[in-house]
Amino acid sequence: MLLLHAITAAEAPGPPEARGGLRGYPLRRVEHGGLAAWATVWEPTARPLDRADLLASHTLLLELGDCVPARLPTWLADEAALEARLAERAAELAATLDRLRGTCELALTLAWRDGSTMAARRTESAATAAPAETTSHTAPPPTDAASHTAPPPADAASYTAPSPTDAASHTAPPRADAVRTARLVPATLEPGAGARYLRARQRALAEADERRARAEALRARVEWAAGSRLRGARHQLCPSERLALSSALLVPRAEAAAVRARLRGCLRRADDVRILVNGPWPPYTFVGLGREA
């Protein structure tokens, strides 16, 4: 049984011949139509794949360089089956390999800082000046200010949400991004509970919209920072309560360090988020996203 790792061009040098696959099992190279597939010869009785295997596969892909990573795990019966799979998808794989050649993926995460408020974000937005131009970009960075001008509904400030345990003892409304999981239904319904519920939703939705607008502004700034080096991007706005933005950026491998530095530089004034940049990695996110990239 074979555990497929990646596809490279047949002429690519690949890792040293003595290099094994995962867990020291043999590494096989199967060639077809100008493509080479790299796979570990797996023992059917081996223990299930774990985190260490995932990291080992990642290391192997880094050594392979330009490649189309396979979904892990992708199992094939034997070398004949692998060659047949290569033959079946040769044109698609070659096109993907061409598209991804010389590129890598940077993973950018922007996490909301604890205690950050929309007021602080508005202040930051207003104070943020255009980052110094260090590249050929001539357009100013996307401004955030426009997305931060809408104040919360006037009547929302005085709203008190009913508590499930004590309908009379009202507490602060939920965080906007917890709108899906908020438990606002009181055990007993007092007069006006419906109106208070709807106004709680009004405030939560307004805050969620504002956070999303802020995340959208950050996304625009990220793309501006990466500039012409950006070959593709996939963004998730507010993917969780703690995160403002999660982005996968496809950039030339030779310029990954420059893009990282520029991202950090352009986002340094965004004091409502913490910045985490990982990579460069193999372009995992962009293997199946040709049209979007």
């Binding site: 239904v185 509970a193 419906g194 939703r201 009004q202």
Partner: protein, 106 residues
Amino acid sequence: MNDELDRLREGLREVRGALPSRIDVPSEGVEQGLAQLVLTLVEFIRQLLERQAVRRMEGGSLTDEEVERVGLALMKLEQTVHTLATQFGLQPQDLNINLGPLGDLL
């Protein structure tokens, strides 16, 4: 409401072809999976209604009595959805669908 529907329509158009052509459905999880799917769609519609109600309230087209009535109805609907979810062993955060490259439905 039209904005949300347009966004959903656009999202479905984009996701077409990006989703796997086969879906692994383990037999032991069919009941819970079906409940999760149905309740997620109900929750999605409930949230659309909620946004529409808030907009109408902001626009002043609802009387105080109507605001109270709509609020109570949405509150009870939310409670019912969560009660049903609990009966199927689902948490509120389970009421969602990952749309691959597009992220989550809710």
